[in-house]
Each structure stands twice: as structure tokens, then as C-alpha cells.
Amino acid sequence: MFTKFNQKYKTIFLDSSSAAFELDEKVNVVLSPSMYWVKKLSLPLQKVSEVKKLLESIFEDTLPLGNYNYSVYKEGEFFFAFAYDDKFIIDTLEDKGIAVANVAGVYFAQSELGFIEGAVKINETQSIFLKDDILILLPCCWVEESGDLNIDEIKLSKRGINLAQFGHIVDSKSLYKIGAILVAFIVLIMSEWMITSSKVDDFSDKKETLFAKAKLQATMFQNKAMLKKYTKIHTKQVSIREITSIILSTRLRPSETLTQLILKDKKITAYYNIISQPTINAIKKELKSKKIEFNIDKKNGHFIFEMIL
């Protein structure tokens, strides 16, 4: 990713048998042949992208059990295919005192040191040797070295790899799937949120329209107060009608007379000059059934029914 800037960083050669490094700066890492698997292939294919699809099956029977990532590049007629275990490389880096955050780039020795001739000593115990275009690692005493390699002086190619730091936990495909599911959920929920917000606005508009159409007061408090006032009027009117109906529909005996019926303030008063007990009982029963408060009195020879509204 940052290959063009990588030359300014120090380059180290990483092997599982390397001594620990003492670094607090960013470095480019060249992986020893012991840290990856490589195959030189001659295939009836032209494009690297076509070969990429086959990499897993190319290494299928070669690799020990593990999580591997693959890489390929073309050189001349041949494809150089690589398999590597990200976790193993990261663990080795950390084991050698290199913080993952300090790694600027990771490269295969195969892609970076393919120019060497003969055996080249890379540390006290090991040499690298190019055989049939494949870089191999050898104990230093096996071959006669042509010299030491100053790895810091080599010019790095653009064939670096990206290490999947969490590939051992979950593979990239699963990560993409999980990511896609999360994004789909986010899109769904955001859409639902937008629809809901729009509905909220619709209801607010409808409410305003209703206020205007029904000629309501500006606030619900005023409207509720007005409704309370009219409900009170309505209840009183219903009560007036109920009481009047009871009084006027009660059958009186020939000797009984209703002389006055008065509605004033919050009561209806009925005056009878003569009224029998059964009639009184009938009126009382009706008033009680309608839960109407009443008083019975006798004044100046009149029986008085006073009913409270």
C-alpha cells in the first residue's frame, strides 16, 4: 500500500531462527524462505488474476493444516505462487521484538533476492541459494558463500503482501460476509428510520391541518379546557332532560297536582299540593335509578322535590 515510500525504512531479513531485533522504528521485512511456500509454475494462463483463483488448489496437497493466504506474480513465462500463514509470520515478528505496527512492508525473499548468484550468507548460521530460480535456505556450511548480503541496500519490489492480522480468527470471506450483513442491516434500519421520521412529519402536518380545519385554539391546554366546559354543559343538559322527563312522565292520581316546576341555578324543584306515598316512592325510585341527588321537603302545604343537577 505504501510501497513507494518504503525505501526510506530500514529493511530486515526475518527468519524464525533470527536473533531478536531491537527496533523502535518502522521497518520493511523480507521473509526468509522458511516462512512461506513457493512454487514455480508454467501454466496455460496469461493473467495473474486467473492464476489467483487456482492458488488454493495448487497448494492443496502441499501444505500442513492451517490458515493460509496466497499470492502470485509472473516473471517471464513462469508464475511464482506463494502460500503463507499470516499468524505464523505475525507471531514470529512479535517473537523477534518487532511490533506489528512498526512493519511498513512485508516481502518474500524470493521476489526481492532473486538476483543473487551462488550462496549468500544472511546470518551467522544460514545462507540463501538460488536453485532453478527458487530461493532456498541452507545452513551456511553446506555451500561456499560468495559473500554477505547487506539487505538494507536492496531495492524492494512492488510485490509486497498484506498480512491478515486476524485471518486465524476469521477468514476474509467471512469478514466480508459479516461486513455485508452489517451494512445491509444498517441500510435497512436507516431506511426504516427515514420512513419513520417522514411519518412523524406527516402526522405533525396532519395535526396542524386538523387544528386549522376544526378551528381549534392554539394549544391543547386551551382546547381541553374548552372541551371540559362544553362537556359540563352537555352533562347538565342531559341531567335537566332526565329529571324533567321523570317529573313530567310520572302518573299522578286524580287528587295529586304538580303546581310548579322550576329550573334555577343548579337544581330543579317540583312543587306538589297533594302527593301520595306511592307516587313519592315511584319518583324516588326513578331518581335513584338515574343516580340523581334529591331532597324531599314539605312547606306551606306543598310537597317539594328538590333535585340537584
Binding site: 486476524f166 386538523l210 362544553y230 322550576i262 329550573l263
Partner: protein, 136 residues
């Protein structure tokens, strides 16, 4: 090459965005149910209020309706006097027969009038005096 964004960070960001959208959606849903409830309450209030107002506060319709009632033939002989004020109308008759009273009371009690007061007094076996104040 190690500088690329950690996929778990992207995952965490997506989860945060997801949680944020769930939070926003839940807020919007709660707003919606609140605004729906307010709308229904307003609708109910408006229906009740407009019904009650048209019944008890529509001066024109009360006036028209009363005029129709007083034109009934059975009430013509009752000599009902109509006296209007700003907030009420008073109907009175110094003497009317029982049938006219029954007819008038039937119409007034079954109609949508805001009866404020009345006084019915028996004058004889067949005659009564009548006075009623109807508000508008």
C-alpha cells in the same frame, strides 16, 4: 503493508453505526407513537368539541331551530313571547294550555338547546304559565 485498516476496527465501526441507527430508529419509533397518540387525541377532541360547539354555541342554528318550533300550529294560540339578549333567548307565555305546553316541552327537551332556566306554573286545570331561558 501492515498499515492497512484493521478489519476488526471496521467491524467495530459498523457495529457502532448499527447501534447508532438502532438507537435513532427506536427514538423515531417512539416519536411516531407519541405523535400518533397526540394526533388521535386531537382528532377525538376536535370531533367532540366541534359536535358540542355546533350543539350549544351555534347561535344561528339555535335561532333558526327555535323559530321553526314556535311556528308549529299548536303553539300559535299560546302567545309565546320571544325576547333575545346577547347571550340568551327567553321564551315566555303568561297562559298556555296543557297540550301546547306538552308540545313545546317535547320539542325543547328533544332539541339541542342549552336550557339555562325555566319556570312552569299551573294556573288552572288546563292552563299554565311558562318561562324558559335558552343560552347560546
Amino acid at each position: 503493508m501492515m498499515n492497512r485498516i484493521n478489519p476488526l476496527h471496521i467491524g467495530a465501526l459498523l457495529v457502532v453505526v448499527l447501534l447508532f441507527s438502532i438507537f435513532k430508529l427506536s427514538g423515531a419509533k417512539s416519536d411516531l407513537s407519541e405523535v400518533k397518540a397526540e394526533f388521535r387525541e386531537t382528532q377525538e377532541l376536535a370531533t367532540k368539541l366541534s359536535g358540542l360547539k355546533s350543539t350549544y354555541a351555534d347561535k344561528k342554528s339555535v335561532k333558526k331551530s327555535l323559530e321553526r318550533v314556535l311556528k308549529i300550529s299548536s303553539l300559535r294560540s299560546a302567545n309565546i313571547v320571544k325576547k333575545s339578549t346577547k347571550g340568551a333567548i327567553v321564551l315566555s307565555s303568561s297562559s298556555m294550555d296543557k297540550n301546547a305546553l306538552n308540545s313545546l316541552m317535547g320539542k325543547l327537551l328533544n332539541g339541542a338547546y342549552q336550557i339555562n332556566s325555566f319556570k312552569i306554573k299551573k294556573l288552572s286545570d288546563s292552563k299554565v304559565s311558562f318561562e324558559m331561558e335558552i343560552k347560546w
